[in-house]
Symmetry: C2
Subunit: 350 residues, 2 copies
Amino acid sequence: MKKITIAVDAMGGDHGPPVIIPAALQVLAKQQALTLVLVGNQEILQQQLTIHNKKKLVDDSRLIIHHASQKVEMDESPAHALRTKKDSSMRVSINLVKSGQADACVSAGNTGALMATARFVLKTLPGIDRPAIISTLPTMNHQKHMRMLDLGANVDSSAENLFQFAVMGSVLVSALDDVKKPKIFLLNIGVEDIKGNDQVKEAAALLSNSSLNYIGYIEGDEIYKGDADIVVCDGFVGNVALKTTEGVAIFIGKLLKRAFYKNIFTRLSGLIALPALKSLAKSIDPDQYNGATFIGLRGIVIKSHGGAKVNAFRYAIEEAMNQVEKNIPQRISSEVENLLKTAPPEKPLE
Amino acid sequence: MKKITIAVDAMGGDHGPPVIIPAALQVLAKQQALTLVLVGNQEILQQQLTIHNKKKLVDDSRLIIHHASQKVEMDESPAHALRTKKDSSMRVSINLVKSGQADACVSAGNTGALMATARFVLKTLPGIDRPAIISTLPTMNHQKHMRMLDLGANVDSSAENLFQFAVMGSVLVSALDDVKKPKIFLLNIGVEDIKGNDQVKEAAALLSNSSLNYIGYIEGDEIYKGDADIVVCDGFVGNVALKTTEGVAIFIGKLLKRAFYKNIFTRLSGLIALPALKSLAKSIDPDQYNGATFIGLRGIVIKSHGGAKVNAFRYAIEEAMNQVEKNIPQRISSEVENLLKTAPPEKPLE
């Protein structure tokens, strides 16, 4: 098995080392070919390791502490972090990817700062103008998930950007989910040709003329149906769709609770319904969908949810491993090169 | 009580007259000051009336059939409808508003065609560059709903457009919900000042400098929390958010069903939980939220959901009545005039 080294921003996220250290230890115990570089305040990390690795379940050779003197705050502006936090756990983690000392990095820190820093340090792949955030989401089709991008790396996307997102998403899904020709949809406000803004309409034309498996437009109420492997949209729209999804799920959860708490009878029925409700919650365990990818960079950067607990952060590290094994950035590069070769001359990619 | 006349596009929607006629009769039976002009194919409408008004519960003087020889198809392009369907039930209904023969009109027909026709026939109010679609949505805060616009009338909105949407929403909420200073939020992909695209940032500046009760940015996961009276966004984003909400609700409904159908035990527990689940469904009865308003026009146009059944279509007619009683277009006009007077000279509204 290929040896993999992943840099972990051990200071990032709402919970920091008390969540990240146990998650790291759990993954290391399971994944024998993995080495983790924990980046952050040496003293704090050592202390947490002493607490969580008492029984020395993980040997020290695969667990390296890399000191970093600074930390990016969750509400810090990306520009400020970029300018003044050159020795932050986040920045140093990304530097390790740049220098080749790590194959990927994982952070639960400030999304904007992570994107700005990753883009500044790693740069985008040739033929890719802008990185995007891609994430896995559940669908109504039992065993099938889908991926959506951009989820917020960009606030305005041109048709070319949307086209590049589709290329990157297609490569990612092909590689990770072993789907030969992933079905690509463009998020729009109607499915007829005339619907949508200019960027979306032009992106549809670019996609139709490409060798990608572009199916057509998709509306917001269809994204969870399971027809799509990849839903492409600009970052503003994608971010709103994703967060609205979270909001609606919380809303319905509250309504359910309220309905079951109404009176003694409904409380009893709620008690009896508990196993069904638990199986519902389990069937879309949000932890397993933790770990968004910053795609389009010359290196693998995985962003964990800021509020991730141990289980969720473990998934994010495993997502990074997966992408290292599948050589995602290299595959995107060669796919872009292929598409450039076959692209119609009047619509060049760059 | 003020006498109100409403034109109803009786041929529109997925179900047409068999749903619209009984809905019209039910509202008329309840609302003694109301006259409805049913616009559409005379023969079909007469036939449906004979079926549904057998007992003559509603006297004929408040129920007028206005013949129109054409019908706009649900999948027809707005441009085509505008050009070739000058005697459609939709167009004639709007004409009746224009000529003052009706105080408002209601249609469950093709949204794009309805908007294009309404805009062409009625024109926008002075100081309003573009109409928007505004709708009422439930929130987690028990008795409180909120309104959101634009839900899809526009695919690109400038900062000035967003500002105007906020003005219109504020007037509507003040008038209909009797809220003095409705709390306005701008939908964005973060709540920090630096987040978002240029349009949203500039709209925030315009709103902050106005006399409107602008609170700040709101993210997708917060829109159903109940803090906002009005959420303002561009039509592409709003449409995606609304439809994603529908999609997630359907998704969770399916998961619930699946969880309860798993085995004999969960089926029994589902049976016992039925009253609680029914009360949940009732607490956000989608029918009562039927009836989106095309706001910003020189006349009241209410769009019913295409798939509306009798109950839902009734709500849409009642929404139109409400807005006639509250003089919504006139109020928007005078509010815009007021704001123009007080607007800082470097940022004029027009």
